[in-house]
């Protein structure tokens, strides 16, 4: 019986967070710290004609004003540690600040003012005068969608079967176009860095989802060995994908610190966060579904078009999961991209999946109504028993259980099919459902454990905890397999002094880093077993590491706990105070034989005021099949977060661009709406655990994205059920329901 895994545990970093002791990037102090404030441009495309910094430089407290005229080159330089890029994918074409007079997007940084205080830097930033040679820009994806092409990287889109023919002969067809506005992550913590050089060694406190990624980026930027760059990021105040890639500010901050020979801090303003990193792209999707009268899908054609920047390709893989959700022999599902004069988009919580599944799952709802089949039943009819794309079996897939149990819990059988048929007083009630899906990913990761004779352990891995509870779950895994208590484990992350871990993205941290911590604990066990068995009288003489376990300072036989050795004694005999093991976990080759995915069924109830067009999501149930749940307390929080994000996407969030200027016009939290407390009501989670030994030794899949994937579609479907109005353009604001 596990002692910790699968049981609720409060966050080990909880006290630090509720008392204000947890330190985020901008909160680290350094002697002689100077404050940088970014100046952003005012045109979407063209060149800088003139830039006058004199008045800013004369302002009190200003140390220096950096522009493209006096900023050193921040590009990849010769670096003996770096192999030349093997393919175009590895070539870093990301935007770097102040490198030329060229303007790629509106509100691009054009200067950095560094001053002795924040107030002085902010004021002087207003004194920098810039003129431009503006060129004709293009920021409207709708206007240029005809130019969309398949990304140059990755496999070109291929059809399965013969979708065009199958569509022609389908008994029932639906076809529609769906749109999703640009969205921004808006984590509560603004992106920030504090950089300090000692000679050619750099320490940088940064908000990042991958300290090693920032290190690689900065080492190549400044032409120093990676070992010279120390990136520290113990707490991240949310990121949701916005800190997966190094953004332009860490290099800018480190540049200023290097030039001025003193530590510098740069923090994005909330407004700068709308152009200081990428966004969920504007996505136009056309879907056609063909089915037999029985509901069986015969053809799916799903084409997505979204924007990228003029200098870099970004592929959200919007239609990726369309290929794997339903059993359908004929399919074509390309994602096409089109350049615009906006910053490069990036991954944003449940990237691609939530956008693609919004369109697909709404189209499935439309098909259900066309067929007069219950929407949930339609999904069961088209249930994929094996991966439709590869033909491989799923390593585990309890989605059918999710559909069944969720519908029972929700009371789905009481749903009247007819739109506008359910009411609560004056309010229209709508029930909607959708499928959630995400990959069960795993990447190589390394963890190090130092186990001491007093039973305490120090565990490190350079992963990140942007909110899912990584500190806690790694502590639980270590305590489980080291046989001690969580209070005896100190797990640290977010530091390039720790062993390498992948970016915290794609819901793969527990599977990747958790497997490394698990492996390192087994390595410690193995080491102790070897040491114990150096003693001729060891009762564990013939045991293999799989036969033993650590518990309360003992190493004992699993099959017969009366056969044990005292770990402190073994260590004492070997003159050891501690044992240190490092373990790198890698995805097992066994995974290649399977499709490894997480699934969920999502049910929501909305109440719509038919007069005023306001929508409230009054109830949501997440039924989740994603392997083993380590900490249900934090996992439930992830699922709630997914619902809240789904509410934002479905009903509120849209980055608005005035295309005349190519400028984002609502770059703040008063005009860009995200859900507030009053927007969120009951959210319940049911975990349908899967026993999956293929995905990884812990049997875990990720859930940070999964919980969001189906929610926007479920809400839009519920709004249709409530009102009879099919809104195919997100967000569904009150004006669209009048």
């Amino acid at each position: 019986m596990p002692r910790y895994i699968g049981k609720e545990m409060s966050r080990v970093d909880g006290v630090a967070k509720v008392t204000g002791r947890a330190k985020y990037a901008a909160e680290f102090r350094a002697p002689n710290l100077a404050y940088g404030f970014i100046v952003t441009g005012a045109v979407a495309k063209g060149t800088i004609k003139s830039i006058d910094t004199q008045e800013a430089e004369r302002a009190p407290g200003v140390v220096r004003v950096f522009t493209h005229l006096n900023t050193p080159k921040l590009g990849p330089k010769a670096n003996t540690e770096l192999a030349p890029p093997q393919n175009a994918r590895q070539q870093d074409k990301s935007f770097r600040a102040l490198q030329s007079d060229k303007i790629y997007f509106n509100a691009q940084p054009v200067a950095l003012v560094v001053a002795e205080t924040y107030e002085q830097a902010r004021y002087a930033s207003r004194l920098v005068k810039v003129t431009y040679n503006a060129e004709k820009h293009s920021t409207d994806t709708e206007a240029v969608r005809g130019n969309a092409k398949a990304p140059t990287q990755g496999r070109p889109p291929q059809a399965r079967g013969n979708p065009d023919e199958a569509m022609k002969s389908a008994a029932v067809k639906v076809e529609a176009e769906y749109r999703i506005a640009i969205e921004h992550h808006n984590p509560m913590e603004p992106h920030a860095a504090v950089a300090a050089w000692e000679g050619d060694k750099l320490t940088i406190f940064d908000k990042t989802q991958e300290v090693y990624g920032v290190r690689r980026h900065l080492a190549s930027t400044f032409g120093v060995p990676e070992a010279n760059v120390s990136v520290v990021s113990p707490y991240v105040g949310g990121a949701f994908g916005s800190s997966l890639r190094p953004n332009y500010y860490p290099a800018l901050t480190a540049m200023a610190a290097r030039e001025l020979r003193r530590p510098v801090k740069v923090v994005y303003t909330r407004t700068q966060m709308f152009t200081g990193h990428g966004h969920r792209p504007y996505t136009i999707q056309k879907i056609a579904l063909g089915a037999e009268a029985s509901g069986k899908l015969t053809a799916m054609i799903h084409t997505a078009v979204h924007n990228t920047s003029s200098f870099e390709e970004f592929n959200d893989n919007t239609t990726g999961f369309t290929r794997q959700v339903y059993a359908c022999p004929n399919l074509y599902a390309p994602t096409l991209i089109v350049p615009t004069d906006l910053p490069t988009p990036t991954w944003m919580r449940a990237p691609g999946a939530v956008s693609g599944m919004f369109a697909l799952e709404c189209a499935m709802d439309e098909l259900a109504y066309a067929l007069k089949i219950d929407p949930l039943e339609l999904r069961l009819i088209n249930y994929a028993e094996k991966d439709p794309e590869s033909g491989r079996p799923f390593s585990s897939k309890a989605l059918r259980e999710c559909y069944r149990l969720g519908s029972e819990k929700f009371g789905w059988k009481n749903r009247k099919m007819e739109p506008r048929s359910m009411r609560d007083g004056r309010l229209l009630v709508g029930w909607g459902t959708a499928t959630g899906v995400w990959g069960a990913f795993q990447s190589p990761a390394t963890a190090k454990i130092t186990y001491r004779s007093d039973g305490t352990a120090h565990v490190t891995s350079a992963t990140s905890d942007i909110g899912p509870g990584t500190y806690t779950v790694m502590t639980m895994i270590a305590a489980e397999y080291l046989g001690n208590r969580p209070e005896q484990v100190k797990f640290e992350l977010g530091d390039t002094n720790f062993p390498r871990a992948p970016a915290q993205g794609g819901s793969q941290t527990t599977s990747s880093v958790g497997s490394a911590v698990h492996g390192a604990a087994l390595a410690v066990t193995n080491k102790l077993l070897t040491l114990a068995n150096q003693d001729a009288s060891s009762p564990l003489k013939s045991a293999a590491v799989a036969d033993v376990e650590m518990l309360d300072g003992r190493l004992r036989l699993k099959s017969d706990p009366s056969k044990f050795v005292s770990i402190p004694e073994v260590m004492r005999r070997n003159n050891l105070n501690e044992v240190t093991e490092t373990f790198e976990s890698r995805p097992s080759p066994e995974r290649q034989k399977y499709a490894t995915m997480a699934h969920g069924a999502q049910f929501v109830e909305v109440k719509v005021d038919p007069d005023l067009g306001t929508v409230r999501v009054t109830r949501a149930i997440e039924v989740t099949a994603c392997g083993k749940i380590i900490n249900p307390k934090a996992s439930h929080s992830q699922e709630i977060g997914g619902v809240v994000w789904g509410i934002g996407m479905a009903l509120q969030e849209a980055t608005e661009i005035d295309h005349r200027y190519g400028r984002i016009m609502n770059p703040n939290l008063q005009h860009y709406h995200v859900p507030v407390n009053a927007d969120v009501h009951e959210v319940e989670t049911m975990f349908v655990e899967e026993d999956d030994k293929v995905v990884n030794p812990l049997g875990v899949k990720g859930m940070g994205e999964l919980g969001m994937v189906g929610i926007p579609a479920a809400i839009a479907n519920a709004v249709f059920h409530a009102t009879g109005k099919r809104v195919r353009e997100l967000p569904i604001t009150p004006d669209k329901l009048l």
């Binding site: 630090a16 105040g237 259980e401 997914g642 939290l669 507030v676 989670t685 975990f687």
Partner: protein
Amino acid sequence: MKDELDETSGPDLSDDEEALLKEMPTLTDVGQARRTFLGQTLASSLGAFALMLLEKEQALAALATSPGAVFAPAPALENPVSVVLKVNGATKTLEVDSRMVLLDALRERLELTGTKKGCDQGQCGACTVLVDGRRVLSCLTLAATVEGKEVTTVEGLAKGDELHPVQAAFIKYDGFQCGYCTPGQICSAVGLLEEARRGEVSHVTEDVTAPVKQLSDDEIRERMSGNICRCGAYPKIVAAIQEAHSGRESARTWCFVDEDELARVRKEWEADETV
């Protein structure tokens, strides 16, 4: 299903909490006594974390001034304002630039970084502190204006090692994820409870002419809407504040589906398919 989400089942305690609870049966009552108990046990388990944070903080503290470091020529403070205020009970005297807001004074001058800058525009609530006991936004409060006032930040809520009941409840209900909005949420909640005690009304108060007593969950939702949590911990924030307010424990809203339940539905659809 075994794990029905009924009204009576509270969130599970950790094994340690359970064990301690058995030893201390007098503290099992819902409400203040239990909250104190949680606060005490949680604060005492800070150990490893406190140490770790100190290490990170000291990383740069010893950095010497580099030869050739560039400074602005004699940066005299413009429009200086002298301010004397109390922060978390301690009197502080500051000479500030008139442009400095309380938020930056706390974070950049007083080393109180618990108060967070989320938007700097009064649009998120992360910077909420209590001034003379009322919740306000420190990003839109000039430092110069708090002369003679008492400021309480998240760092000033716990009594020694004992967490404030709202802090303890946030941990108990997992009322946060990334933790960045949390200090603002907690200060806001502490202010809100006081407002509730004074009988103040809100936008969702049905009859503003009638006295307000116990807050419903809807009342708490509305009253906490000035604090954005992008991780979306709202339902758990409401549960935490409700317990701090009324002593009422919120029902657990998640469950594991057990084996019997799974076996039942699997059997049902096999039966469906044979029909």
